[in-house]
Symmetry: C2
Subunit: 422 residues, 2 copies
């Protein structure tokens, strides 16, 4: 069993171990990495009972402490969910390897040969809550991109995470990847998170996955770079020149595909030109779906929604609630989104291509969309194969982050002894 | 004159102004931006006397306070240096515009159309020391990449910076770019730097250009993302299978092209196989160039250099001094560089391509080089047109940072009303 009596020593050991592993990992071949992923999947598959048993412990504790049914659901592992962790690892093994790719060969004034090679970031810290499947997903994505990882799951899922981790490790140990490629913080002490966030010497990036509280804590405490995933206050703007049936179905899908995802629409903006004809249709659909509507005063002259307060325009409900605002055309819509949105994903519904172009250019969000619901915002749906999270930062990685977001590029410079200044 | 009595209010005004300007700036056409750059250059050209006079004030003050001749030299503006600021702006106007470029159109599982569009970061803060030319260079690079900027120069060059800034502004005001696209912090109060580093709401990235002290301060205080430019402890490794003449000339050029640049070699590693034959040649050349040599004990059995201490392997001299170590082949060289280097630029001299490959793969630096001196590390020489700095970070931008380093990519998603989950 791991010695965690001295937390600083323990975390330093994890950091150093990850750093050392990252050096070897960075030059493993694609085949070696894929083999390791397969062995990890196999090991999970051979030890499902272990995982279910450990999960039962977590579930029992959670029941005793009386957590919400939504959290309980996230925490639960069952046959299906274990299968999907296993197939997740297999699909990661089938993704193209970003590492080693050489691009951007440029003409240079002196004729020296300059290009860029894609390399791992090094050591990635992942801090996540409840869902134990992240343990396998994140470990797989980091390994495939040649990064060592240090995982820190939520205290409520510690037994499940440990069981998954130990079985991943069994697979890893029979592969050619270093054993310290994947490490789990085996204590629920909150101080461990702060240590993780301060270990500049060992850690290249931390990715928080979880609620606003976690992300904010990470963003406040981190001394290392962070790929933030803040809230998704996503908008659908229904333009005056839209196809109304398309507009209604996009708005409904954007909200109801799943209420709890960050790409769910939270505010609907409607051009005054079509408000009278389209709002009653919207009203019927959302009433059917049991979605609570909170409208601006103009909206409420047309349909009888609740009254939206200023707070509503900056709220991520993640629930069957939407706010609705009637605007004077595209300019007001763009301004509203840039002022009140969270730079996540925003959509225009219009048949006017010039207006679509204007919206796509002017809205400053990680995904700008035309005639598709915001709930499409997702790494898999964007063709990235899988995603580590959706970044609302502009820096390094923006929007859904796939394997490439876990990489960097170094310059390769080759010559025949050319001297400078001669 | 600007009101700076309340620093917080003043800095907030700068931040808000820059943020507003960045929104309009992001959608200016390439022609509009180039025209603004030309007008700025013209205005500098029409007002050279202003600049020289303001600079005289700074020089006089500097003389009174007795600063070093190296700093005095950096501070000085003359006809030539003003001409080079002007031609710098003109060459930036001729660089390709990175903004609006659409790439990475990917096949997606659902058939929705997903690609990425290059966009500005938004607001860039530049903090720099002594050299007043940075005021024009940085303003030009930010404008071309569609970013608003807030510039904060050193207190010793405040008059020169103000004069340059006011004349840039004259040009800018006759262009179609917003006046707040370029702002200079017009106070020497150090607290202003801390405010700048904390304005998360307005600022997207801060780039420190200057000595280790400045960069460290920024890195400690910053709440906003930073593109760091730490020290350059660069290595040349002379492999046993090298062409010895080439090796000597590369080592000499790497050190002596300019002692003060971050790409200058600080440590020379020599394979034991060739140490006896090559070190005496190296010794003669560096003696001729008046470079002080500090060697390991094996080195000093062959030539009579001073003795290197442990401190020497982690020192950026930026001066006519080098440390020399004899190593047991490429593996020790790579380990030494990864352990003691600063991940800036490192070179192998060898005729063995397999060893070159190994070195380029295994050395974890922003530039890895084969048979060219490390002093080539430079944005212009890499074909980037110009550089904002050389990043020793892995995150976002690594190595010489050109216009592209000041940009981000957002996802464009287009469809015909496709719904998710149907």
């Amino acid at each position: 069993m791991t010695d965690i009596t001295d937390l600083t020593q323990y975390m330093t050991r994890l950091g150093e171990g990850a750093y050392q592993a990252s050096r070897d990992l960075s030059s493993l071949s694609t085949e070696q990495k894929n083999k390791a992923l397969e062995l990890m999947a196999e090991s999970l598959s051979d030890n499902k009972e272990d995982l279910l048993e450990a999960n039962k412990e977590d579930i029992n504790k959670a029941n005793e402490s009386g957590i919400s049914s939504a959290l309980l659901d996230r925490l639960e592992l069952n046959e299906d969910r274990i299968e999907s962790m296993i197939s997740g690892l297999i699909s990661i093994s089938k993704l193209p390897d970003p590492i080693g790719e050489i691009t951007n060969l440029k003409p240079t004034p002196s004729g020296i040969n300059v290009s860029q090679m894609r390399v791992p970031l090094g050591v990635v810290g992942i801090i996540y809550e409840s869902r134990p499947n992240v343990t396998a997903d994140a470990a797989g994505l980091c390994l495939k991109s040649g990064n060592a990882c240090i995982l820190r799951g939520g205290s409520e899922s510690i037994n499940s995470n440990l069981a998954i981790y130990k079985n991943l490790l069994k697979g890893l140990e029979t592969s050619e990847a270093p054993n310290n490629s994947i490490q789990l913080v085996e204590t629920v002490d909150r101080e461990a998170v702060k240590k993780l966030l301060s270990m500049k010497e060992w850690i290249d990036v931390v990715i928080p996955r979880g609620g606003k509280g976690l992300v904010q804590l990470v963003s406040d405490e981190a001394k290392v770079p962070v790929i933030k995933h803040l809230d998704g206050i996503c908008h659908v703007y229904i333009d005056g020149d839209c196809d109304e049936d398309k507009a209604v179905s996009i708005a409904v899908n954007a909200k109801t595909y799943r209420f709890g995802i960050c790409g769910a629409m939270e505010t609907l903006l409607v051009d005054r030109k079509v408000a009278k004809s389209i709002l009653p249709k919207i009203y019927d659909e959302f009433t059917k779906e049991e979605v609570e509507m909170r409208g601006c005063s103009v909206t409420n002259d047309i349909i009888s929604a609740a009254s939206a307060s200023d707070e509503d325009w900056v709220t991520e409900y993640l629930a069957p609630i939407i706010s609705i605002k009637v605007v004077e055309g595209i300019k007001e819509a763009i301004d509203h989104i840039n002022n009140f949105g969270s730079s996540h994903s925003d959509c225009i519904v219009t048949e006017d291509l010039a207006k679509a172009e204007l919206f796509l250019n002017k809205v400053d969000s990680s995904s700008v969309m035309h005639n598709v619901p915001t709930c499409w915002a997702d790494g898999y749906e964007y063709g990235l194969g899988a995603e580590v999270g959706i970044s609302t930062d502009k820096f390094h990685a923006r929007g859904p982050v796939g394997l490439e977001g876990l990489t960097s590029q170094k310059y390769l410079v080759k010559g025949k002894g050319e001297l400078r200044g001669n």
